[in-house]
């Protein structure tokens, strides 16, 4: 059951010219949320921008053993993300959530490979924690334009996550897309090992990951990013074509039917 919280900004850390991590005092949402779920946010009560915008829950904040809030990892692309970048401590962000279907967790001996493109890193911090809690071995394959856009590597490494990088300019890891380390690892991994591939990033990347997973007979879960008007199933804006039982396809609302889908279910070129 989602709640709407007028969340105070606790901190706002700029990671680069475009990326920031904003901490919001929304403990109720943070407590209730599962990895892969998202919130719909709005800054101010104004009419421009009018609609809320979806953001993955990045971290769940704790102090003295209690949950105190959550963070969002945001990349500037327009009006709301600009406002998130500029927000200062004490500002209020209206935050509705948690929303959507979370990632399905796995249990050992299955291993988790998380494939992140750019700001698609966002859902993987909470996913990492949940998987580690269950004793699952976690790998992060993380691609960006350059090493200046790779964030939180320490965070993942400190938790024992195996990290592989790819940058388009070759400044860290493979030169090229994150699909490169993924393919190499898939090729090198024995079929008996049980792997779940989780992916979040731009849709062409998700498509490539899902196809490659299928090629190697691996299951995948991808978190898609569609333009969302409401986040609650009310508007039918956020649909994505999904294979139906009878060999056809139908549009599924990614806000309630997703944002996480089995990679194999999505019709990438409808």
């Amino acid at each position: 059951m989602p709640v709407d919280v007028e969340a105070r900004v606790i901190a706002n850390t700029r990671l680069s010219q475009d990326y920031n991590v904003i901490a919001l005092a929304a403990p109720d949402i943070a407590s209730a949320s599962a990895p892969g779920q998202f919130v719909m946010v709005k800054l101010g009560r104004g009419l421009v921008p009018l609609l809320r915008r979806p953001f993955s829950v990045f971290e769940v904040l704790r102090a003295d053993g209690r949950i105190t809030g959550l963070t969002l990892l945001s990349k500037r692309v327009g009006v709301t993300t600009d406002m998130l970048f500029e927000a200062v401590e004490g500002d209020v962000v209206s935050c509705l959530g948690p929303l959507g279907r979370p990632f399905q967790l796995i249990d050992p001996p299955a291993e988790a490979w998380m494939v992140a493109g750019g700001v698609g890193l966002a859902p993987f911090a909470t996913l990492t924690e949940a998987l580690l809690d269950r004793g699952v071995a976690v790998t992060l394959m993380y691609g960006a334009r350059s090493d200046r856009e790779l964030f939180y590597l320490d965070w993942f490494e400190a938790r024992g996550v195996r990290v592989m990088l790819a940058t388009e300019d070759g400044t860290a890891g493979d030169r090229g897309r994150v699909i490169l380390p993924l393919e190499r690892e898939l090729r090198a991994t024995a079929a008996e090992r049980d792997i779940m591939i989780y992916a979040c990033g731009p849709e062409p990347m998700l498509e490539a990951v899902a196809n490659m997973a299928a090629q190697y007979n691996r299951p995948s879960q991808v978190s898609v990013e569609r333009v969302m008007g409401c986040g609650l199933g009310g508007c039918y804006s956020c649909v994505i074509p999904v294979r139906d039982d009878r060999g056809g396809q139908r549009y599924v609302r990614s806000c309630i039917g997703g944002p996480v889908f089995a990679g194999a279910d999505i019709v990438w070129n409808p």
């Binding site: 709407d4 421009v48 009018l50 609609l51 809320r52 409401c230 609650l232 804006s237 549009y251």
Partner: protein, 307 residues
């Protein structure tokens, strides 16, 4: 005690605040965040006889104080609705207004027949005004004869309140309200969205896959209020007003202009908890202005010249 009830034909609504069609799913999507029985009514997403896929994404884009949509009436069709959603709506004690769309006159009639035979439908809203589909719908809504014909045909087969939903994309919306009244409508609702478009100037492509879409939200409110005012002066049947309502003040504006009840669409996307705020705001206003009944507010616009 403030009396919030209003009368739409034979139907008494507990209050004048209705969820607008297409902006509240089938209602059940919102059952977790709002007690559906507290709403005056729930106008469910537009239904055809058959299931529909709707348009390819992108289906919405934000505009100044508004949004465009071209959903294309994706929907489960009337039969699945009756089987899958309606029972849950009844369990939640929602007052269900079914918004129906047809490609032909016969389809409207057929839909009306089916729904009249179904327990738990409070009223029929005839969507003859969706700007997002080529066939049917708006072709009736943009012609006086078409409007008259659809409404009278549906009228003949149902005792449910019949509420044609009018398009604002016409020269004289009041004449469509009159045609509806003449054809036996119990009320009219307006406005549906304004045909509009947005372009991504960098790619020089339309922002919506359907090229054009419908404009809704606060941006259109002043036009919608004017149209409600015109209809109220043209017909005796109740007018259900909508278009950009985002606060109790806005709902009151429509009622003062002539609406008996109001619908709220886009604002529900922004704030799904808006419903109690609207009701509280309306109640507070009535108390402050010492009006015991909300229905006394309808059409109270004072147009006497100022000093």
């Amino acid at each position: 005690m403030t009396d919030l009830s209003v009368q739409i034909g034979s139907l008494t609504l507990a209050n004048p605040v209705i969820a607008a069609s297409g902006c509240f799913g089938y209602g059940i999507e919102y059952a977790d965040v709002v007690d559906l029985s507290l709403l005056g009514g729930v106008a469910v997403k537009g239904l055809f006889l058959a299931e529909r896929q709707g348009h390819a994404p992108e289906r919405i884009v934000e505009t100044p104080a508004g949004m465009l949509n071209a959903i294309g009436l994706q929907g489960v069709g009337v039969h699945r609705f009756i089987k899958e959603q309606l029972p849950e709506l009844r369990r939640r004690r929602a007052v269900v207004i079914v918004n129906i769309c047809g490609s032909t006159l016969d389809e409207y009639v057929e839909l009306a027949r089916i729904l009249s035979d179904t327990e738990g439908v409070a009223a029929l809203e005839l969507n003859i005004s969706c700007p997002n589909i080529k066939e049917g719908g708006i072709t009736f809504g943009c012609s006086l004869a078409g409007t008259f014909d659809v409404v009278s045909a549906v009228r003949k087969v149902t005792r449910l309140p019949v509420i044609p939903k009018l398009t604002p994309n016409v020269t004289d919306v009041a004449s469509f309200a009159r045609a509806s009244e003449d054809a036996g409508a119990d009320a009219v609702s307006l406005v549906n969205t304004f045909l509009a478009m947005a372009i991504d100037v960098e790619t020089r492509r339309p922002s919506l896959s359907n090229i054009v879409g419908g404009l809704s939200g606060p941006a259109i409110r002043p036009i919608a209020v004017r149209m409600v005012y015109e209809c109220r002066n043209a017909v005796k049947i109740p007018v259900i007003g909508m278009g950009g309502i985002a606060s109790a003040r806005d709902a009151l504006e429509f009622m003062i202009a002539g609406a008996t009840a109001v619908q709220v669409g886009t604002a529900n996307f922004v704030d799904p908890f808006i419903w109690t705020k609207l009701l509280e705001g309306i109640r507070a206003y009535l108390t402050r202005h010492q009006m015991p009944r909300v229905s006394d507010l309808t059409g109270t616009l004072d147009t006497s010249t100022r000093d």
